[in-house]
């Protein structure tokens, strides 16, 4: 090593955040890591961000495979792009307090589609980081973890990083292959080749969730036949009332299967894959009758999901669960078994919340987890830095109107239904406090001052309505569904009267 380094030009400045001890460490420069870093910076909490990548963007540096997202950014809704309310129609921009940093995505798109390209998404994330002044040390992969007294130690090629608080935003992005015998003859979704190279090929796709249908949709006019198979029947998002089902964007193969056009959708377990001189045999067994069926194909792609790349975190006490290897977390995204280790971004989907009627949160997508990040940072600020949440006083006459406005327009409540809520409470001195956006599970399960929280819920019939959770004597005993309305605006006199009655004894 020489002591003087010649400056080869722009971009070669000394990288920020050298190894050392920091109040907080963030790992990852995708949407999850950057949104967490943004909220930390706005709370004034000094921190370092390290990333294995050479630049911002996370998974959007490479995916989705067909280069077009399935999440909307609608430019032409009657709301200014720099308002909070606009975020309801823009699933892809990272979020900011400052109006000038909001709505970056619509400014990058040409307006011909509401679905941004992968490159536009990557650029949007880069601009957010640049405009909000976030600083990342790139090409510094986290390679291992240890404990040293009160600090966690992250090992990187650059050296050791130490902190009491680690926020990991490393995505759920490690390809997950089943243990099926012969799986080595298949490729994972991430290794799908250019579409044209599947021209005329007989294709077998393992998996019937969104990634399987995305591939079938993208390869529909190239490969034939296309067989989609997995043990469970496929569900459409419009039937589940949840984005966890197959999205409307990708159901062309489903229609094709229904009309006998060359796509086949099977409910079967995949027993083994064997290679022979003319291709591959996929041995399956029907889920309902156990009848065997062998598919003769040229290619097999496993759209079998991803897991969180949590390396050796179990060695410092993190417990994980499920196929995706998600950690067991509190409602504030802290490991339930290794205090001080938090998870931002898509890993937050491991916090299931109330999951009413089985409808999952949207924490596995940007438009869900960008709001979780604020709750996470509030928890870090309170527990590790003694900072209190802001709880502005609210005139009693404004409570009902404020809650109904949130239920009608707050993007947090619309993107994280039955998961995030707007809470208002009464202090012992009788003052009404606006608690802002909170975790609904935390609100209903934890003790706290009397008050009420409102959220937006979808029930098993697909009806979308406000729901109220009133805390009396420190407990929430029941949920109350309010009436819906034709255009989902709940600021009517009838709603006002009903809500006033429901909260009269605690917030009146």
């Amino acid at each position: 090593m020489t002591s003087t380094t010649p400056s080869p030009g722009p971009g070669w400045a000394t990288p920020p955040h050298p190894p050392g001890t920091y109040p907080v460490l963030v790992v990852g420069s995708g949407p999850g890591g950057l949104q967490a870093s943004y909220y930390l910076s706005r709370r004034g909490i000094d921190h370092a961000v390290i990333s294995a990548d050479p630049g911002p963007g996370g998974m959007f540096r490479r995916f989705p495979f067909f280069q077009r997202l399935l999440s909307w950014t609608k430019p032409h809704v009657p709301l200014a792009h720099d308002t909070k309310e606009y975020e309801r129609y823009d699933w892809n921009s990272l979020v900011a307090f400052e109006p000038e940093h909001r709505g970056i995505m619509p400014s990058l798109m040409d307006g011909s589609t509401e679905f941004p390209s992968r490159a536009e998404m990557e650029e949007g994330i880069r601009r957010f980081a640049e405009r909000t002044g976030l600083s990342v040390r790139y090409q510094t992969p986290w390679q291992g973890t240890s404990r040293d007294g009160e600090h966690y130690v992250l090992h990187t090629p650059a050296g050791e990083y130490r902190s009491r608080v680690i926020i990991l935003a490393v995505g759920v992005a490690e390809p997950l292959l089943p243990e099926t015998p012969g799986i080595e003859h298949a490729v994972h979704y991430v290794d799908t080749r250019e579409a044209a190279s599947y021209a005329g090929k007989r294709l077998f796709i393992i998996g019937k969730q969104n990634s399987g249908f995305e591939l079938a949709n993208g390869l529909l006019h190239w490969a034939s036949p296309i067989i989609l198979a997995s043990p469970r029947s496929a569900h459409l998002s419009v039937n589940l009332h949840s984005l966890s089902g197959v999205r409307a964007r990708y159901i062309q193969p489903w229609e094709d299967a229904d009309t006998g056009g060359g796509v086949f959708i099977l409910n079967a377990s995949i027993e083994r894959i064997t290679r022979h001189s003319t291709g591959l045999s996929v041995h399956t067994r029907r889920s309902d009758t156990s009848e065997p069926f062998i598919a003769e194909v040229d290619e097999v792609i496993a759209a079998t999901g991803f897991r969180a790349p949590l390396l050796d975190l179990e060695s410092v006490g993190v417990i994980t669960f499920g196929r995706s290897g998600l950690p067991i977390m509190t409602n504030a995204y802290e490991s339930a078994t290794a205090p001080g280790i938090y998870f931002a971004g898509t890993i937050g989907q491991g916090v299931s919340g109330l999951k009413k009627y089985g409808i999952a949160s949207n924490s596995g997508a940007v438009h869900g987890h960008r709001y979780n990040a604020r709750l996470l940072v509030d928890d870090v600020a309170g527990r590790y830095f003694g900072m209190e949440r802001q709880r502005p006083e609210l005139p009693p006459g404004e409570v009902v109107g404020r809650l109904l406005t949130s239920a009608s327009t707050a993007p947090e409540l619309w993107h994280q239904k039955s998961y995030l809520a707007h809470a208002v409470s009464r202090d012992p001195d009788g003052r009404i406090r606006d608690e802002g956006i909170v975790s609904l599970a935390e609100y209903v399960d934890a003790a706290g001052p009397d008050g009420a929280a409102i959220t937006v819920e979808t029930d098993d019939r697909g009806d979308i309505h406000p729901a109220l959770y009133v805390r009396r004597h420190g407990r929430v005993d029941v949920d109350v569904a309010l009436e819906s309305s034709p255009l989902l605006d709940f600021r009517s006199p009838e709603h006002h009267a009903r809500l006033s009655t429901l909260v009269a004894d605690v917030l009146g």
Partner: protein
Amino acid sequence: MNQTELLNALAGLTLFSDLDQPQLESVAHTLSAESFPAGQRILRQGFSGSGFFVILEGEVGVRVDGEDVARLGRGDFFGEISLLLGEPPVADVVAESPVKVLQLAGPQLRDFLLEHPPVMFRMLQSVSRRLERANRRG
């Protein structure tokens, strides 16, 4: 827990003990794995929209109006009564330790049981046992 371990765990539970391998795989893909830290409520007394849960690991406490009435562990299940009756749960179920469960969305329970009659039979047996115990106590 990988897929093989999950299937082995499922096969070892009474509720699923009559299913063959393809059916077990179907069940494993239909139910979602969830986890809860100690102290977290999993089922909430009086709340609408609950689900059906099968415990894979850990212990839970059953509480009615805040009073402990039972403890459940690996292989036990809960949430079915309120779903079968179409009413909110009459008890809280709270994680006593870090708990790993399989969850089925409430609205899917009816179809799930109709598609897997052996599971319905085992569930009926279990509910009958609970009824018998309650009758004896009464």
